[in-house]
Subunit: 632 residues, 2 copies
């Protein structure tokens, strides 16, 4: 598809040149009021300004002005990667503008871009933290400096603008930056990589926008070099930045979860554009192993606080689950690319799980607070962060307005702005629905036929999804609807369908309505017995939504962590809320907590279970996703 086609369609965040499925543009899918539209609207109307406010307040935007005015390094503020938060905001604004064409937003965007652009040096280099007198030299710290990571986000922002608007000051800045990277890190340049992957998918995306082969070649070099110990060893080991094993030789994602998912995304982009089926198969296998052994029930990835990393197989503690918001976004990026490449529903299954249980969990209802980590078990009630204070990154107790490392707010912003992209795809002759949300869709197939659909649903509250045809050719075409793996008993127009793709291939008339019914009654979920940390526990899910118990819903004086579900417990329905019976287990008499007999249980209490993504919104509380079961 040409860049002009993309501009007309409103752009899209990953546009492979080949693959089983093709993404739609952000103007081809309009979210209607409902679960996701509400979040996208909050992002547009509140989060973008909130983020811009904090970028000014923290001085991270001012770093660019300080660079121009020669006030660096004295006036430099924030961590080494602070520039990237500005770039991610610009990316979010670009997608948002592609969708809304809001001139006020466009003016804000252009004002920010001019400040960024002014700081670019003559040779294309742009980073407020390196290279000036008194600063470390350029590329003197590839392990931790984040310079190429920073260029990656700059290029991604430029790609977003190019796909939604065409040529532009930021696009030119991004191209100059990418040319600089190719010059310095090319075949005869520095034979290394960045400690934080991101430049890899960015360069492939820029190749897709510009058609310039050198960006693809450079991405290929970066992917090939990594894994050969080109970076120095660090306390966390080289697996932290995936420099332990070459991408095509690894069998599972490992190390820092954001780094791992970004790198894997770039590797898929590269494999698709170069026809490297071996590389694509390698990453696909890594995805599958990671989903089977290193992923939380919520879809969250990365269990370790120390290095924000994947744990070993089946090491998935619910308390102190790191499950970084950005890692969930990286997981969606990766699953989306694999979905486009392979066309299998399982990738969309994980995207759905991750959207409803991590990405919907992270932001506050007002769009001005965020979880950085998304624990599955909160043992001690958190405290409200002070409104004007930077919060340590791992503070997961209550959503905070901003962090000393504030990657998650801006990452959410660009994700919500481009969220419509994940709803549906097309292929040569039909349309596929992946995510169910009220939406209007209209697209032109490659053969020129127009298709329009209106999706009417209050999913996931209810499992009925009605798809009304608003535009259709008078020839047959296939409509495919994803049936999630938990949806046993699902029907399409009354006929049973099984998980995977439910497909209708026929002539559709305007006004036709297709109805998918997904059973969303609550269900008990048991974990693989090898997941030690949740042995003897069950979780409750309802459709794609993981439920949890929260202390604010319990009687005063009842501790959530002392409640066990009696064996054979049933799920009750209390006016739409799922309720289970909890039995307070008496603590042992002795102080030493090993070997003493348990005391007598207390009286049973009802435990209301509510969506995990709603937790922590009613003040400090404790919370559990996994509920222990007792035999007594």
């Amino acid at each position: 598809m040409s860049i002009n086609d993309w501009i007309e369609r409103g752009g899209t965040p990953a546009a492979p040149g080949s693959g089983r499925l093709r993404p739609l543009g952000l103007r081809e899918v309009t979210l209607r009021p409902g679960f996701w539209q509400q979040r996208q609207e909050t992002n547009r109307s509140a989060s973008l300004a909130h983020i811009e406010h904090w970028l000014e307040k923290s001085g991270w935007l001012g770093n660019f002005d300080a660079a121009v005015a020669g006030r660096l390094p004295g006036d430099r503020r924030g961590r080494e990667f602070a520039d990237t938060e500005v770039y991610k905001l610009l990316e979010a604004m670009a997608w948002e503008f592609g969708r809304t064409r809001d001139p006020v937003l466009d003016r804000r965007y252009r004002a920010l871009v001019s400040r960024v652009a002014a700081a670019q040096e003559a040779d294309g280099y742009l980073n407020t933290n390196f290279g000036r007198p008194g600063q470390a030299p350029r590329y003197s710290d590839l392990e931790w400096g984040h310079e190429l990571y920073s260029f990656g986000h700059l290029v991604q922002a430029g790609v977003a603008r190019a796909r939604t608007c065409g040529d532009d000051e930021l696009v030119r800045v991004a191209v100059r930056a990418a040319d600089h990277v190719c010059a310095v890190f090319g075949p005869d340049g520095i034979a290394s990589v960045c400690g934080h992957p991101e430049i890899e998918p960015a360069l492939v995306e820029l190749f897709r926008v510009t058609g310039e082969r050198r960006y693809l070649d450079q991405a290929k070099l970066f992917v090939q070099r990594r894994g050969h110990q080109v970076l120095a060893d660090i306390e966390f080991g080289r697996s932290y930045f995936q420099d332990d094993i070459p991408v095509r030789d690894a069998d599972v994602l490992r190390g820092h979860a954001v780094r791992a998912t970004y790198l894997a995304s770039g590797a898929v982009d590269l494999a698709v554009e170069t026809g490297d089926t071996e590389l694509l198969a390698a990453v696909t296998g890594q995805w599958r192993a990671t989903v089977a052994r290193r992923t939380y029930l919520t879809g969250g990835m990365g269990s370790r606080h120390q290095d924000e990393a994947f744990g070993e197989d089946f090491a998935l503690p619910p308390d102190r689950a790191y499950s970084e918001t950005c890692a969930a976004i990286g997981s969606v990026m990766l699953s989306w690319r694999l979905l486009l490449a392979h066309g299998d529903a399982e990738y969309a299954d994980l995207i759905e799980r991750t959207l409803f249980n991590v990405i919907a969990t992270a932001p506050a209802d007002d769009g001005k607070g965020f979880f950085y980590t998304n624990t599955l078990h909160q043992r001690v009630p958190g405290s409200e962060p002070e409104p004007d204070v930077l919060v340590p990154r791992a503070a997961s107790s209550l959503r905070a307005p901003w962090f000393a490392v504030s990657c998650c707010p801006t990452n959410l912003a660009r994700t919500f702005a481009s969220l419509a992209a994940y709803v549906a795809t097309s292929d040569d002759d039909g349309l596929q629905l992946h995510q169910y949300t009220a939406a209007g869709l209209g697209t032109t197939l490659p053969d020129g036929r127009r298709i329009g659909l209106e999706v009417e649903t209050v999913y996931p509250r209810d499992g009925r999804i009605a798809v009304r045809v608003t535009e259709s050719p008078d020839t047959a075409w296939p409509l495919s609807l994803r049936v999630p793996p938990w949806a046993a008993g699902a029907t399409l127009d009354g006929r049973p369908v099984t998980p995977g793709w439910a497909r209708l291939h026929r002539v559709f008339a305007v006004g036709d309505v297709v109805v998918l019914e997904l059973p969303v009654q609550p269900r008990l979920t048991v974990p693989d017995p090898r997941i030690d940390a949740v042995r003897g526990c069950v979780a409750v899910e309802r459709g794609p939504v993981v439920l949890c118990a929260e202390s604010v819903d319990l009687p005063a004086g009842v501790s959530l962590d002392a409640l066990f579900l009696p064996g054979g417990t049933a799920l009750k329905d209390d006016d739409g809320t799922v309720v289970v019976t909890g039995r307070p287990v008496g603590p042992p008499d002795a102080g030493w907590p090993y070997g003493a007999a348990a005391g007598a249980p207390g009286p049973d209490v009802d435990i209301p279970l509510k969506p995990y993504h709603r937790w922590g919104r009613r003040g400090p509380s404790t919370m559990r996703v996994w509920l222990p079961v007792t035999d007594s």
Copy 2:
């Protein structure tokens, strides 16, 4: 007791001026060949030289020479606290010399001391990392600089030398350093504390040695100041260095586990010397809460890798258990002080558990390798560290010769050198036996009566402890023997005794033998149901020794992490090795590890269980202390 009395008795590592029990000197208790003597001998004959070698090789000893030669900061090596490893080696050597009077050791010791002493500045300040041109100014980073921590270890080394040898160059260096600390941090000085407690117990101990009240007053100031947010906030929160809550107001140990136990030890020292019963009661309550809710089965403390800290109540994951060796030593220091103050057996119970299951676990058999952390579950076989390479501190897979942060080897060295101190105590008229090991004891009670005992046992291999009287007055005196809480069915001279103190108050004749029989048959131990991470598991203990399963003892192809004990499993005895039945549980069919049915179990296999302290000594392996139980 006067310093000359202590010198004659061989010194002791904590000598309170009051309390229920009095420590014996290191020349009053001689370990005989057996479990602990072997480890003390390995420490003497191998570890001390190994440590000295690494201190030279790493340049941490050379830092003192560089200071004298004006080659700092250019030639500075190691972390900010590297000086303290030299001091802890000197402390270990001092205790060892007190016991052995080995002139060769004494010469090595004096050679090291002269290098340290030469670097002390005119005003008593001594630190190779601060205060010179090009270095950070003195006390410019109290949060992380470790300057007072460093002085604390210097003073502790001086105290050890004073108690075993009297006046000495190192004692004078320590006194000058302590005087400097009092001058700079006194009532009119810097009103703050060190980010790492250690100066507190050191100053009280120096007061005990010198009788100089100003050291006690300064320790009191440090204990009083902490907890009032006198240090800057950090990413881990101020609880990391216990600056969140004043010592006397806290109800549990929290934050960095070594910092917490060192501070609590100093607070007990202070409370005992000042008659501050409120402070003593506060720390006693903290100890009790910590033992009941934040301590591993092994006695290990501190569950978090990120900040080497205590987790929240009942957050005790066996995998990624941090359980730092130094925290176990801090726990022994604290429990020992509370034992001397209160006289209750429970403190000696925890010391025994910690000695057999952490402190005996950490060193390699040859005394030249060490665990920094002591996990209770190793999921992936570790790799042998390269002999000449510094190892990251949290590498717990196999014992390493030295670490970038190498506090544990030197801490073990001073502990093994002074280990005899923990065996027994006296009070006004009798003797108490706390730890059972082959040993000869001889002491003079305050009223001048002489008592001599020979303890004959191969404990913990066997539970028979024979105490033969070798010297006794012809008047009655009480002999108290600790009966551990797990020893149901114990007998003393054939009569049943219950956990706590078994006491014989009578006239003893030389040649009399008292026999304590502690049943050490293996037993199943269930955890408190609130410890989520080991729910549905049992451990096996034998006497004071925690057992574990190790992959090297399993048939090839059997994964330790897939084995479950069938319900109602029995402990079998296979020629002295405890064996349980393990049933490989088939993994679920589906990739997604939640909600799928388990596959068919494999054939039962025998799982030999061996002492946890022996694990990791036969090459890379996986290991579990907690074994999951299945109902099927």
